[in-house]
Homo-oligomer: 456 residues x 2
């Protein structure tokens, strides 16, 4: 296998580290394809990785962090001395700084903040005060704003005078404010280029532009960019004061990260990303925490079977169908749940529309429940020759499918109203409920028809 005879990128990096000197390291890192950088860093020994970050000049270390998934970048940043972490953070854009610090524990973040320039640290604290999935939490504070009284040539002169400093800004728009920092207009760079330099900015800007309030939730930000073809949107407070800029790409990225969190959540990976390069104990404990909850919930559902042990002993054939009935209920319920999660995210339903969801789910759930029940009941009859078993299995399948889609469809609404992520229901909560329903319907029906079942 060639993968074993070839030197892997992290082996080369460790060899270069052992040699000392940064030139070879920098050249090798620069030549690695972007994807390989993350893979190599994730495989290096922890202390080598920290040493590597310490050896690089802060701007290149910052670029390296940018190539990593946020969870991995934060892990790395938390492992190097606070003064070095502060130097690297200083080379990142403001929203990146706040996001990375937000992933660290509070003590560690404070230690790093203490090494940042006071105005930078204050900026980070200001951004960190906004919840992450809001316009305020997504915004950058590197933007250009000029008083409404200037002329275009004044802006161009300022841009020329600070070309170096502004080169790190994403200047698609220039903002125009009245005294008190109130947002008055927005000027596109293109209009700045194409209009006569002596024109007053007020005559070229788009006055009273669309803006986002700092407390606008991510869904509202995403819909804003769906509807308007802008690269960025100004963010203001309640009084209309300009606070920062949300870029379309950052909003899209936040939507993607939320969808990825939900995929992990639905798969039982809680507490953030897990990478197999993380310490063994951390991975094992995090997974076990969720499996423990899941075990407790599974036992609740199993308790229903325990209550009907005698019935089950009399009709052992039912034991073959119990996991099918409960499993299918879980599957049907998860479909309904995913549709609700998506419809909530897209704003197609409001969290109070229980009735609409129930009406729409009941029809589909009843139809599919009847079809699946007929199929499974027919199979049970054919296999056992016992019509009562067929009836019980079929009816339990139909009923549990109906109940499961109603539960799956409405649970995300209830969770949203409680201020929770609706996707957390996708794991053990829904499955426990659908398992318990499936077991109960099958065993209660069997218990009621026990005489006929055993005699036939």
């Amino acid at each position: 296998m060639p993968a074993e005879t070839r030197e892997e990128s992290w082996e080369r990096l460790e060899a270069l580290l052992a040699e000392g000197g940064t030139d070879g390291l920098r050249a090798y890192l620069g030549a690695l394809p972007p994807g390989e950088v993350a893979r190599a860093l994730s495989r290096m020994a922890g202390e080598d990785r920290d040493r590597l970050l310490a050896l690089l000049p802060p701007p290149q270390a910052a670029e390296l962090l940018g190539a990593l998934p946020p969870a991995q970048a934060a892990e790395l940043l938390g492992a190097v001395p606070p003064d070095l972490a502060a130097a690297v953070l200083g080379c990142l854009p403001s929203d990146g700084r706040a996001d990375l610090l937000g992933e660290l524990d509070a003590g560690r973040a404070e230690a790093i903040l203490a090494h940042l320039a006071p105005d930078v640290a204050a900026g980070v604290r200001r951004l960190a005060a906004y919840p992450p999935d809001t316009a305020g939490g997504l915004m950058s504070t590197e933007y250009l704003a000029y008083p409404v009284t200037v002329r275009l040539e004044d802006i161009i002169a300022d841009l020329r005078g600070h070309a170096e400093q502004y080169s790190r800004y994403q200047v698609q728009y220039v903002y125009v404010t009245t005294p008190g920092d109130t947002l008055a207009g927005v000027l596109r760079l293109r209009d700045l280029l194409l209009s006569p330099p002596e024109a007053p900015v007020a005559s070229v800007m788009v006055a009273d532009p669309l803006r986002l309030r700092a407390d606008a939730p991510l869904d509202e930000v995403a819909r804003f960019f769906d509807r308007h073809p802008f690269f960025g949107a100004p963010v203001t407070d309640r009084e209309g004061r300009l606070l920062g800029v949300v870029f379309r790409a950052d909003a899209e990225e936040a939507v993607g990260e939320r969808a990825e969190r939900r995929f992990l959540l639905a798969s039982g990976v809680l507490g953030g990303e897990e990478f197999r390069s993380m310490p063994w104990r951390l991975r094992q404990r995090r997974r076990l925490a969720w499996l423990g909850v899941s075990l407790a919930l599974n036992l609740v559902a199993a308790g229903v079977v325990g209550l009907y042990q005698d019935t089950l002993a009399s009709v052992i054939a039912l034991a073959v169908f119990l996991p099918v009935i409960s499993g299918m209920g879980g599957n049907a319920g998860n479909q309904a749940l995913a549709v609700s999660v998506r419809e909530l995210a897209l704003g197609l339903i409001r969290p109070d529309e229980f009735r609409w969801v129930l009406v729409k789910e009941a029809g589909v759930g009843a139809a599919n429940g009847l079809l699946l029940g007929a199929a499974l009941g027919g199979l049970a009859l054919a296999w056992s020759g016992n019509p009562y078993l067929g009836l019980i299995v079929g009816a339990a399948m139909a009923l549990s499918s109906l109940v499961a889609v109603c539960l799956g469809g409405t649970l995300p609404l209830a969770l949203t109203r409680l201020g929770l992520d609706p996707a957390i229901a996708a794991g053990p909560i829904l499955t426990t409920l659908t398992d318990a329903c499936g077991f109960f319907f099958a065993l209660a029906l069997a218990s009621g028809l026990l005489r006929q079942l055993v005699l036939s």
Copy 2:
């Protein structure tokens, strides 16, 4: 309940439609918050929705489509006459046109293409030839390119002369080409603004800029933008000819959409988004198709229970623990699966690294399996007083947890090598395997220890 007494937005829209005339409609739509537009359209009767789109001037209809989730927008576009659909599509950017047409069936898409201007239709066909999740499939073809021989003032003059036409372009960068459309450089709009107009473009542009090949997969595009702070990247063919531009926001959006598809896939919603406003029959059939597959797979696992019916009849208490063992195996396996899906997406593992995944999973799976096995086995002992039952339940739990994480961790790698989305394993495929393992371990052990179990 105020929601019932208040007029809902779609009721108002339907009333305005009934009145006829477009002014009231346009004013009402313009005043609706962005999120409410999608909700209102999703609740209107199908024919009213189509009539609404037909009544609006194409640019406003295009803006309306932009406010809708892609699946809903395509549904709407497929329902209006092809000439109207073509007029609306003509107002969308090139990548949006190709994406929407890609969601329609081929006959319908052809009918619409026939009504587009020939050069526009040719452009759509060219874009549609690239697979969706590649740089080519993501790129826009609205970009500005100038020969390497021009001066900055020539570019500025061209921009001024075509201000109206270019206003729909996202001009952050201007591209510079040599004869044969070969990409030679990129010029930032800011540099165009800040450099002397008489300078030759070759002296100001970034020569031989970073670019993406048209066949670069989405993960590579995403990592490119993670590593480089650009708003967009030029896309070239193998020979270095400029084909289009991928914008960062479009790459982020595609990553988000893929994560959302995976969440739906993992939840058993196949065939694209489902909205409850879609026709009842379509929703019911799509869900049933997947539930049918799931039922067949569930029966395979249940077959294992069927093989051991006699054993189970002798030790009915085992029936209480069977669903717990199989369910917990599924949970443990899904955690490992989600970690593999994420690591593959982030480039932290390659699809051929089975051994690395197995080594990393076996440790965690064995440790958690032993702990969960001890807990569940202890419970079985305490509840039944039968040490053999405790032993069997505990051992089956431990073994099935170990096997489940190894299966869950490696299945995504195998699927990726087969060219499939690794997330499709998250549904019934993995669960069937883990169910069958759990049932088998518990019942085979019980069968081997049957004498001790029944006698004790």
